[in-house]
Symmetry: C2
Subunit: 343 residues, 2 copies
Amino acid sequence: MEHSKKTTIHDIAERLNVTASTVSRALNGNPRISDNTRKAVLKAARELDYEPNQIASALRSGRTQLIGMLVPTINRAFFSSIIRGVEEVANSLDYRVIVSQSNEIFENEENAVKAFLNARVDGIIASIGKNTEHFNHYKQVLDRGLPLVLFDRTTPKLQTGQVVIDDYQGAYMATTHLIEQGCERIVHFTSERKIDIYKERYRGYVNALQDHGIEPNHSLVFSGNLQLEDGRKHAEQLIQGKVDFDAIFSASDYAAMGAMQVLKENGLKVPDDVALVGFLNEPFTSFTDPPLTSVNQFPIEMGQTAANLFFNALNSDKKKIIPKKTVIQPELIVRASSLRTAP
Amino acid sequence: MEHSKKTTIHDIAERLNVTASTVSRALNGNPRISDNTRKAVLKAARELDYEPNQIASALRSGRTQLIGMLVPTINRAFFSSIIRGVEEVANSLDYRVIVSQSNEIFENEENAVKAFLNARVDGIIASIGKNTEHFNHYKQVLDRGLPLVLFDRTTPKLQTGQVVIDDYQGAYMATTHLIEQGCERIVHFTSERKIDIYKERYRGYVNALQDHGIEPNHSLVFSGNLQLEDGRKHAEQLIQGKVDFDAIFSASDYAAMGAMQVLKENGLKVPDDVALVGFLNEPFTSFTDPPLTSVNQFPIEMGQTAANLFFNALNSDKKKIIPKKTVIQPELIVRASSLRTAP
DNA sequence: TTTACTTGTGCAATCGATTGCATAAATAAT
DNA sequence: ATTATTTATGCAATCGATTGCACAAGTAAA
């Protein structure tokens, strides 16, 4: 079978003895078209199996119905869930999402943004890379008048919409929970990197201690990369150094997991000897033994929020995003790793 | 600052006193353009900060440099890893990937494919939904002469490129491994659904048993949805029914996990009393206690393979995919849940 | 020197839809 | 009955790049 040529508005126009303008207006619900004509157009469109060519429409109208979405890593639960949230909102509004990943490499990030602009996306939703220090590529987006929304990893250097979770609050809740479980010497795993989110978590940890009359102890804070191995190392140091501690609040589930392994290997009971709380609520946290208490960041909701912010900006007159920061409240998910039966 | 109008090939043409055709040809490396002109064009393009408008190019040339990618669920490790694989290959060739999810709902799947076609993607890479039984939407893709590649969930009803893993082989390896660990009464968790992949895994299980002189036992096979809860239920039945068994090979990591929980709750030791093997190598499998042996499907490689198949088809004369099925060999990742120290 | 290619550009149509402006017909206002 | 307004549609330019065909100038072959 030959590939039958796609029908265009001209085919419809010809059949009805009207012009393409009329057909276009009828299809787009322009009120200046009579009811009769509109019905006839819609009927013909159906009969001829008409499907609009979005490329042609985009060229003329300047709207592609495409959103460029940039994440550091696609296949990490947190980010893929955010993509999911964005995708749901976007698709319901007949927008499509182009996904690219930077792999935390600055050059990739620049290229992806440039590619998005060449593809003439209607705007961009992005999480900036760990190593990103200049923001010219993002400024270009704003200079073109395109909506830009940043999530999770944001920067005050760009005047644009941002969505983050309240890391401070999450850490505060986690630490308070441990205190309420009777813990008094609470270790904290944090990151060496100077990213806001870890500073905020540290701040939440410190403040929660102080608010409950516990003096923060510098020797209980461990800084590393927050991977599984880092957690193991920290835990080994704690044990070998015979440090007196009864809980760990880790800014990452992976590091918490590493610590859990080492603790168990050394015959320490979780949570009775050491209570454990992680951060991010990775999918694996409910499958560890004991299941790991963690802080849920609501990534799907975060994606939805980012998308809503995006569409608000898109539909506003100025097409300029109000540089508002939306802060999502996290939730402490208490599991067995921090639940002491008897105080 | 005003949004400076984007420069077009006409601006370059004007500055150099040539026509837009010449500029277009120069930029596209057409050999009929003299070296001098080409250099002048490239220089002017750089100076004027020219960026091609892909929409205009797409309208005229019919090539959008976009791939539509359809998955059941974006935020599942297996699928997001496949997306990652596709994205890497696509981006390196200056293609972008539009991602949509069907959530296993047939209507969503149809709509997504239709949206892809309206966006005039150059082709589609998809995994079909569990409940999909008609394939007209995919046939339309083929009728238009667009490349279509299916991965993981495929169908023989479509004459097109497919990428799957060798489920039979994965199951055969898993079962053989258990037998080699000294297990003789091996339970199998499978799915009620009539999807090929589960039938293949079942077949691999049965054949491995037979090849080692063990008679398959119908009462050791449990059928369900393969979720965590199903695994728990099956394990409870096994224990309450006082069934004699010494291993479980589950067609899903989640069900294996559920079983592990119940076994431990009932004082049974993994792997000594019951050895355990899952399937899919979910990220959590290395974090369970004991870590869960599983079958790696190489999802990133699967995505890369799908993308390569796609581009082969795209670049072939006929633009018709050779309806070839690429089968990826899985790998058994042995962890503690199935490793018996003494036979 | 004449004829035949080759090389490098230009012309103008085209991809398919959108949209500002003009206009004919129908209706309302005076 | 005349003028003003509304309604419905057409005209033609436009978005920006691509491409088949034409053609002038230069080079090679006869």
